[in-house]
Amino acid sequence: MAQNAERVLDHFELFRGPEYQQMLENKKKMFENPRDPAEVERIREWTKTREYRDKNFAREALTINPAKACQPLGAVFASVGFEGTLPFVHGSQGCVAYYRSHLSRHFKEPTSCVSSSMTEDAAVFGGLNNMIDGLANSYNMYKPKMIAVSTTCMAEVIGDDLNAFIKTSKEKGSVPADLDVPFAHTPAFVGSHVTGYDNAIKGILEHFWDGKAGTAPKLERKPNDKVNFIGGFDGYAVGNLREIKRIFEVMGIQYTVLADNADVFDTPTDGEFRMYDGGTSLEDAANAIHAKATISMQQWCTEKTLPFIAEHGQEVVSFNYPLGVSATDEFLMALSRITGKEIPDELARERGRLVDAIADSNAHIHGKKFAIYGDPDVCHGLAAFLLELGAEPTHVLSTNGNKAWQEKMEALFASSPFGQNCHAYPGRDLWHLRSLLFTEPVDFLIGNTYGKYLERDTGTPLIRIGFPVFDRHHHHRSPVWGYQGGLNVLIKILDKIFDEFDKNANIPGKTDYSFDIIR
């Protein structure tokens, strides 16, 4: 036997033992209807061809390896960014378990979120009782300051009316009448997690600004000099939001970060469990109506929220996940214009350092081809940064990108000599990307953890930037926004490039004449 009580092996080693190998082989032979390996190989090769790519792109019904998640995930992500807020998803509990695990596996932190645990009867008779019981239980058990309700598909299909349900629940006394219970309808069959983020933020602002579902007077806007900030759905929220707050502070700007989940996704280990931590105070969320302007870092994460805010009389400005020098310049200049505050020397020096770092290393990135996939704004930000570095973002694919996104990407490509042979692919999945990588190979792939299959299949080295990143730890704690963040992205890219140099030059006596100490 390969292992015994004295010598316990982990899965890396155990199943390589002869008895397991024998067992697996027999199983394959006897039960798995094995095919001729040559035939399997032939098909494998065929999937790399142009012919297969055409068939692949002709796909109509099937999505294979999607690079998007569902609305309620985005809603939960946004909701935990408010002070003492418990996200409550009306629908089946299985979905909610997914959101919690998805976020926790990325942020390496517990994610507090409950569901109304709808079952078959609820699906038939409506989920009102689940809502009443659910709100009462979660309020009593977890003592939230606010419960932010969103929905799964199940509740949406039967058409549960959240507004009425919450009202009824309060009437029945499951939660105090003055408890803030904003809501958002977030069916997964519409949009993606970025849509859910948008809906949740809009639902919460609507609740506070427009009279708490008819239970309070609507707020009257009294303009002040503050600026609201919305980050959008962001795997780097922890590092990014802290960096943005630092920038606001060095510029001397009064600000409100809406959905500030930097602390709840990064609680210290000191013997105290924090179910809630940090977050935008409910008072600030309400007072955000008085702000001079609202800045969104991700256009496609705030498509409904920004018009809602604009209707209340504020200036709204949106960006597409600004990364790198020019995009950060634009962001800071917008801040400066809106607030009348100067960009301080400290930031100018950081800018100079980023430019210096790029100049030091540009030769290694220049002319390299990249494939990028991810959320629409993240893709745009990365592509713009690559163009700035003299690289070519040859394939940019966003499963949750739409036609408007494609047009914006094409305008970006047209703005740079390095974008001439680049294409944007909205609504496509990672199996499409596989075909693209085989038929039009690139040097590097940028995407989330799921890209490791593409890396293995196509041999294109993966640079992990995106959400979710499950198999590398703690990157979300460093910012990618601001000049400091740009430096972090630059380093991530360069590290992979140099790793590849070493990997391709490490066979002793064969290729190691290039296994150099200095790069």
Partner: protein
């Protein structure tokens, strides 16, 4: 066995060195390199020079005798490529401690040699002397001799402690050590009439391998390369070569000249940087070999290879010429590369606004003048601050230099390309020049330079760092003659020494239209022929200039 000071005198007397030959006895005595100025930033020491010159011998264990300072900061820092052995990249040092300094380090050195030979069985051990053991009187010559005898293995003392002088002096001392202890001590397995030595070629980034296939194709064997991708046995038997090419004259001229003296191996100084130089060097190798008895037909075969390779390289470079139109480069580098790179860049259509000549010989400088015309901006010794100012003033579009000046270029917001040892691309031969041009293209057109040159976009006060172009134009208009004279004095044919003015006058007064007519009238392109394309260019531009202008000039 000569003492260190005697060896130094020998080097200072090097008759093959043109710079040296022009000196008075007193000057010569002072030494052939400038002593570093206390308080000024300076380059490496003699030990470093010796080590980098010999380190590329790949099957040799290089043992540095001294405290950790000498090896600890520098090991494996040479991007010379090896086609096999890798022991040269392993760092060996005696790592002397206080006790060794008090009681002497010879025993430790002997034991270190013993351990290397016992553990690694290298082809040879090179032992490098450094300042501390030299000062306390460790005699590495004696230790090496004893170890050599005891272990029946070549153990070669390299006597170039840092304090004796500059890096370049160290290169030469390394050469002296080879001459004294290595060359001629073994016999090659066989010889051919096509055996050559390459001296002062270090195979940085594997660049020698860009030329080697052409030599292989011609049947020319590199009996020994000193020292890139070199083997001990090869250099020990290198005295049987028929001819030699001296690649870096600054570092190894003493080796080439002494081998000619001792073993009658004729050498020429050449370079494989750039198309013209590559062709000239191949020609010269073939001619030398034929002169030494190789069959005549080698010359014909060589010409065929040259024609084929030139055509390919030109075709590849031509694509870049329009992109490089009007682009200016500044070259800050040392050693042989300055003039040969100048030639290469001009071929690519770049204009050179200046080149450093710190390590160049008088002969090198003459060549630069030939290539760049009388207006050649040659820079002797340059501090970082001066370099920065030059970059700002010269308004060049790119600087090519070693890694040390990189940061100056960047602070001056100039694109920069590494052409010294830490570069990651090989620029030798016909393939290499195409690669160099490709890299220059990348560096020139990288979008980051725009960012670098502009102040942060929110800076309302635009700091105009450039000098006033109108002012410049006015200045040049008020002194038309020197500028025109400089332009006309630009050398077009280097072999026959024909300048641009002569060609233009000939074209105008005789109405010449072909390269052949020009050769008949002026002798230009009658040598290597590499200037043909330049002449074609001049012909084309003279056709473009309007007819009345020609008449005016004729009248």
């Amino acid at each position: 066995m000569s003492s260190l000071s005697a060896t130094l005198q020998d080097i200072f007397n090097e008759p093959g060195c043109a710079k040296n030959a022009n000196k008075s006895d007193v000057e010569r005595k002072k030494g052939c390199t400038k002593q570093p100025q206390p308080g000024a930033a300076a380059g490496g020491c003699a030990f470093d020079g010796a080590k980098i010159a010999l380190q590329p011998f790949t099957d040799v264990a290089h043992l540095i005798h001294g405290p950790i300072a000498c090896e600890g900061n520098s090991w494996d820092n040479r991007g010379a490529a090896s086609s096999g052995a890798s022991i040269w990249r392993t760092s060996f040092t005696t790592d002397m401690t206080e006790t060794d300094v008090v009681f002497g380090g010879e025993k430790r050195l002997y034991n270190a040699i013993k351990e290397i030979i016992g553990k690694y069985k290298p082809a040879a051990v090179f032992v490098y002397q450094t300042c501390v053991p030299a000062m306390i009187g460790d005699d590495i010559d004696i230790v090496c001799k004893a170890a050599s005898r005891k272990f029946r293995k070549p153990v070669i003392p390299i006597n170039a402690p840092g304090f004796v002088g500059s890096k370049n002096l160290g290169n030469k001392l390394a050469g002296e050590a080879l001459l004294e202890h290595v060359i001629g001590t073994e016999e090659p397995d066989y010889t051919t009439p096509y055996d050559i030595n390459m001296i002062g070629e270090y195979n940085l980034s594997g660049e020698l391998w860009q030329i080697k296939p052409l030599l292989d194709e011609l049947g020319i064997r590199i009996l020994s390369c000193i020292s890139g991708d070199g083997r001990y046995h090869e250099v020990a038997s290198s005295h049987r070569a028929r001819a030699a090419m001296l690649v870096c004259s600054k570092s190894m001229i003493n080796v080439a000249r002494r081998m000619e003296e001792r073993y009658c191996i004729p050498f020429f100084e050449g370079s494989f940087y750039g198309i013209q130089d590559s062709s000239a060097s191949l020609r010269e190798i073939a001619q030398l070999l034929v002169r030494r008895g190789a069959p005549e037909e080698l010359i014909g075969r060589t010409e065929a290879v040259i024609a084929r390779e030139e055509a390919r390289a030109w075709a590849a470079i031509r694509q870049y010429k329009p992109r490089f139109a009007g682009k200016r480069a500044l070259l800050i580098t040392g050693g042989v590369k300055s003039w040969s790179v100048v030639a290469a860049l001009q071929e690519a259509g770049l204009e050179l606004v200046g080149t450093s000549v710190k390590k160049s010989t008088e002969e090198d400088k003459e060549r630069i003048k030939e290539l760049m015309g009388l207006d050649a901006h040659m820079i002797e010794d340059i501090s970082a601050r001066e370099m920065y100012k030059m970059l700002k003033d010269a308004r060049a579009d790119i600087m090519l230099s070693g890694g040390k000046s990189q940061f100056v270029a960047l602070k001056a917001a100039m694109p920069w390309l590494d052409i010294n040892q830490e570069r990651s691309h090989a620029y030798l031969g016909y393939v290499g020049i195409v690669k160099l041009v490709e890299e220059i293209d990348k560096a020139l057109f990288n979008p980051i330079w725009e960012q670098l040159r502009q102040p942060a976009p929110w800076d309302t006060v635009c700091k105009n760092t450039h000098s006033d172009p109108m002012g410049q134009a006015a200045e040049s208009a008020s002194h038309p003659t020197p500028a025109e004279r400089a332009r006309r004095s630009k050398r077009i044919c280097f072999c026959k020494r024909v300048d641009l003015g002569t060609l233009e006058d000939a074209i105008r007064s005789h109405g010449l239209t072909t390269v052949r007519e020009i050769r008949q009238k002026t002798n230009a392109s009658g040598g290597c022929g590499a200037c043909k394309s330049r002449i074609r260019h001049i012909l084309a531009s003279s056709r473009e200039s309007s007819a009345p202008a020609v008449l005016d000039a004729a009248e």
